[in-house]
């Protein structure tokens, strides 16, 4: 086996506030291989977003190292496309299409006309061509996140980082988006690091699941995903995985609400 694609090694992340040094994650290590869908799963406030921002290069580690293809991550870059949790990540002064064109033009040496064609193609992939000329404030939350995903794909990053992109969507939309994301992955086979606090989402999307303890986040387990299927046998397997994750995450707390 060659060197891992993404190597997160003994990562400790801290925030300096006015009076305190808050440790968000402690000694976290995991690796992602190429074309893997790695899920970071843990309760709210355990430092998932912080880890993702560190991989993105927006926060520098207090201790430990992050390496992408053997190269240490020190600053943000277009090789790590990021989809944020927030709805305000689209540039409000640009239409859906223009948001994608901007991302392409600023990060790759592509003429504008070609960038436009690519942006159309990406909008088609996320089923939003009829909203190409709408401004972000005219889109629903789910549509905004889809544009953000399309925009991120436009960067042609080596790895895609997603921070609970579906967390604030209604259940129906979320389910649809999860299916679409799996389809997109099947198309591109990109490497994906996906943050969620929902066990179900982790099971549906993940090929590898990293479980984090409550604040300060530490890795408590790494599990393999189960390929979702409709037949009974797999259902049992899924239920088993779900029960196992719940048991690991909440050894003594009984109910976990998402």
């Amino acid at each position: 086996m060659n060197a891992p694609f993404l190597d997160v090694c003994n990562l400790t992340l801290q925030y300096k506030t006015a009076g305190h040094l808050v440790t968000a994650t402690y000694d976290v290590s995991f690796q992602a291989h190429e074309s893997e869908r790695l899920i970071l799963l843990g309760p709210s406030g355990c430092g998932k977003s912080t880890i993702l921002k560190a991989i993105g290069g927006y926060i520098s580690p207090a201790r430990g190292k992050i390496r992408l293809r053997g190269k240490e991550v020190t600053k943000p870059g277009a090789d790590r496309g990021m989809v944020f949790q927030e709805f305000d990540q689209l540039l409000p002064w640009k239409s859906a299409l223009e948001n994608i064109v901007f991302a392409i033009c600023e990060t790759r040496p592509v003429p504008r006309s070609q960038a436009k064609d690519e942006a159309w193609e990406l909008l088609r992939k996320v089923n939003l061509t009829s909203f190409a000329n709408s401004y972000p404030h005219e889109l629903s939350g789910g549509m905004k996140q889809r544009v953000a995903i399309a925009r991120c794909l436009g960067l042609r990053s080596e790895i895609i980082l997603m921070d609970e992109p579906f967390a604030s969507l209604d259940a129906l939309t979320r389910q649809k988006m999860q299916e679409e994301l799996l389809n997109l992955w099947a198309d591109t086979r990109c490497t994906l690091v996906f943050v969620t606090h929902s066990i179900d989402e982790a099971i549906i999307l993940g090929s590898r699941i990293v479980l984090l303890s409550p604040h300060p986040g530490q890795v408590v387990a790494e599990l393999n995903g189960v390929i979702a299927h409709l037949d009974e046998e797999k259902n049992a397997e899924l239920a088993g995985l779900r029960a196992r994750i719940a048991r690991i995450l909440f050894k003594d707390q009984c109910d976990y609400t998402i």
């Binding site: 993105g56 943000p76 990021m82 990540q89 002064w93 600023e106």
Partner: protein
């Protein structure tokens, strides 16, 4: 857990009520989805029509009262004012005054914008700069520009240099405050998006920070305009410029001394018209084309 008794109660409850499913007609078929309003209602729904009606009503009241009063020196009639307006427009006196005032205003306003921009960039690049900005805006925002006029006269002499100095003071601080809060308020997420694309510093400022801060920048420009316009007229009123070619403030002062009160009224109406043109047409248009269209208005 539901007990058998509960279940029975539930059954007896639902058994009384019919279930149903139904198809609804396509919207085109149900005729009353959008019924056209009557012509009168549609005209009355136009804001301009309603506001014009109010203006006509006010002019009528004015005219009737003035005719009853019969005192041209205290309150000229509406028609007298309109005549005076046309006359002073026609003989070029008022347009000249407007031209002078606007030229001074343009110079002072542009300088104010530049100064505000400089202070803002200073404040954004260092913490001590930010402290400087906060201290200065905190103090000088509260100092009415007109109060500086005597000092300005002492420093720059009687002339437009003094007025320009006073206007720059009146414009700079509120503008700086707005522009600065616009830049510091740009969301963390948008900044991270810019970093994700590895934008260079100039591109980051021009393509991300400025458009993201545009609502506040526009507010700053608007507030600056309002302050500078009022300060200009006030300082022109306080002292005219030595010889004949004064601005509108001076025009009003002079006409009052010559007891041409209808012309004074005409000049006041001109002030209102210019203010409305800039605030409700120029700035509104810019806003409609930008922040309103983008859903960013504050």
């Amino acid at each position: 857990m539901t007990s058998p008794a509960d279940a029975e109660a539930q059954i007896s409850l639902t058994a009384l009520r019919q279930e149903y499913e139904r198809r609804v007609n396509a919207p085109e078929l149900t005729q009353d989805v959008a019924v056209r309003l009557s012509l009168r209602e549609r005209i009355w729904n136009i804001t301009v029509v309603r506001k014009t009606t109010i203006l006509i009503f006010m002019a009528l009241c004015w005219q009737i009262y003035a005719l009853n009063l019969q005192n041209e020196l205290m309150l000229p009639s509406f028609t007298g004012t309109v005549t005076a307006l046309l006359e002073s427009m026609g003989n070029g006196e008022l347009p000249r005054a407007i031209g002078t005032s606007l030229r001074v205003l343009a110079i002072a306003y542009a300088s104010g914008v530049v100064v505000a921009g400089l202070i803002t960039s200073l404040a954004l690049s260092s913490r001590i700069g930010a402290d400087f900005l906060e201290t200065c805006t905190g103090m000088f925002n509260l100092l009415p520009a007109i109060a500086l006029l005597p000092l300005a006269l002492l420093w720059f002499g009687i002339g437009y240099a003094s007025i320009i100095f006073v206007i720059i003071h009146s414009v700079t601080w509120p503008m700086t405050l707005n522009i600065y809060s616009g830049f510091t308020g740009v969301s963390k997420t948008l900044r991270m998006v810019g970093q994700n694309y590895e934008l260079s510093a100039p591109a980051f400022i021009c393509k991300l920070l400025i458009p993201a801060a545009l609502p506040h920048i526009l507010t700053g420009l608007k507030v600056g305009w309002a302050f500078s316009w009022r300060t200009l007229i006030a300082s022109e009123l306080v002292f005219g410029v030595s010889s004949g070619s004064g601005g509108i403030g001076w025009f009003i002062y002079e006409k009052k001394n010559q007891l041409e009160i209808a012309t004074v009224f005409a000049a006041l109406i001109t002030l209102i018209i210019i203010g409305v043109l800039v605030e409700n047409i120029v700035f509104k248009l810019i806003e409609n084309k930008t922040v309103r269209k983008w859903g960013m208005s504050i």
